[in-house]
């Protein structure tokens, strides 16, 4: 009885120490990536190549999801608002929910599963097939050559993807409520413009997406670099990237929202 209890307490302690150690390891790796980012800016071609795979190829899923999220928001918002006779406020509803929350968060979640998992799998496989070790042998720093360009490509593309998501969402909401249902186009835009503030809503949404970009790509490159060099290890690391970065996005979103929109 006592033995089992002690074992349980020991396992809690073990996991705590393991977690703290892992967090410290990740932070050290993050700082290392930042320290060795000089190369990616001197040879910007490396970043551009990654921007293509991380950003441009994510466009389709971002555009389509943004459109549908906006259309659903428009439909649901109209459905509720028309009960109170204020269906012209549907533009405000769509724009505010997209710009403040859904744009950055959903775009970041999609980005984590579309691009973050790919980054982890690529780096993990390079490690498993000892390409990274081979680079080290040739005196090419794998962190500067492989990890940092991917990190910066993710950080740069995330705010753009979130903004494109929001714009497509607003367009989708416009399509459903104005074109199909017949809400007045003038009041759709004017209500939106008078209630969406540049600094409070749009700038804060932009800052959020920057934070998410850093968080998602930092987790993705760390999990890839840290993965056990086996097939199983790479698959586990890819799963962990998606799970950890999704949780990180949602947690960060709460903290950032609490800071940004307090007292409004």
């Amino acid at each position: 009885m006592f033995k089992h209890l002690a074992a349980g307490i020991r396992s809690v302690g073990h996991r705590t120490i393991e977690g703290v150690w892992q967090l410290g390891h990740a932070t050290r790796f993050f700082l290392l990536v930042l320290l060795k980012s000089g190369t990616s800016f001197r040879r910007f071609g490396l970043v551009i190549r990654e921007l293509y795979y991380v950003g441009v190829l994510s466009l389709i899923i971002i555009v389509v999801s943004g459109l549908f999220v906006g259309m659903v928001l428009g439909l649901q918002g109209y459905e509720t608002l028309q009960k109170y006779g204020s269906e012209s406020a549907v533009g405000t509803l769509v724009a505010l929910s997209l710009v403040r929350e859904l744009g950055p968060v959903v775009a970041a979640l999609l980005f984590a599963s579309r691009a973050g998992s790919a980054i982890t799998a690529e780096i993990g496989l390079m490690k498993a097939t000892e390409q990274l070790a081979a680079m080290g042998m040739m005196a090419v720093d794998p962190v500067a050559r492989v990890v940092a360009p991917r990190f910066w490509a993710g950080v740069i593309s995330m705010p753009f993807l979130a903004a494109i998501f929001s714009v497509m969402g607003v367009f989708g909401g416009y399509l459903v409520t104005v074109t199909f249902i017949g809400v007045d186009a003038g009041s759709f835009w004017s209500q939106m413009q008078s209630n969406v503030d540049f600094r409070i809503d749009i700038l804060n949404g932009f800052i959020k997406s920057c934070f998410f970009g850093v968080a998602v790509t930092a987790i993705a490159v760390f999990e890839g670099y840290d993965s056990p060099p086996t097939a199983e290890g790479v698959s586990g690391a890819t799963t962990r990237t998606v799970v950890t970065s999704s949780l990180a996005i949602l947690g960060l979103d709460f903290i950032l929202t609490a800071f940004m929109f307090r007292g409004i």
Binding site: L51, Y52, S157, L161, V196, F198
Partner: protein, 155 residues
């Protein structure tokens, strides 16, 4: 993939992203009307501002002519001092009447300016003399009940 094609697509991506940000700030947000280019400041003392917030619109005949810049409580007169930024295209007479109104039944509160007949116009930093406080629902109901009770007592 060839470098030139890669550059093209990435350039297109970045330009789309910047265009999206511009669209958000100009069309969805109100950056173009945010800072009224040329404005002057006037003040008004209100007994009760209700739910008025900073950045609430200041309207005259329904047209937005400015925004509420600041709301403070004065401990010398025990009322609220509302500072408004008014577009300098619009000049108002000195005896303009400012009241706190509500857009719709549940809408946001704004300041309505009703121009008076004075020849002298309000200048930068002037204070509006005639103000009308916000309607507070509880006070109205309370007054109604009080009137009702006193009516009943008469009989």
């Amino acid at each position: 993939m060839q470098r030139r094609i890669l550059d093209f697509w990435v350039g297109l991506f970045v330009m789309t992203g910047i265009a999206a940000l511009m669209f958000l700030s100009l069309k969805v947000g109100n950056l173009d009307t945010y800072g009224i280019a040329d404005s002057y400041v006037i003040k008004g003392n209100f007994d009760n501002i209700g739910g008025l917030k900073t950045r609430a619109p200041v309207k005259s005949s329904g047209v937005v002519v400015g925004r509420v810049a600041d709301i403070q409580f004065s401990t010398s007169t025990y009322d609220a001092i509302v500072t408004m930024n008014i577009d300098s295209r619009y000049q108002f007479p000195k005896d303009t009447f400012a009241s706190i109104l509500t857009a719709g039944l549940l809408g946001e509160q704004y300041i309505g300016l009703a121009a008076g007949g004075d020849e002298v116009m309000l200048k930068e930093g002037d204070t509006i003399m005639k103000t009308n406080s916000a309607m507070v629902l509880e006070e109205m109901i309370g007054r109604f009940l009080f009137d009702k009770a006193s009516e009943d007592n008469d009989f």
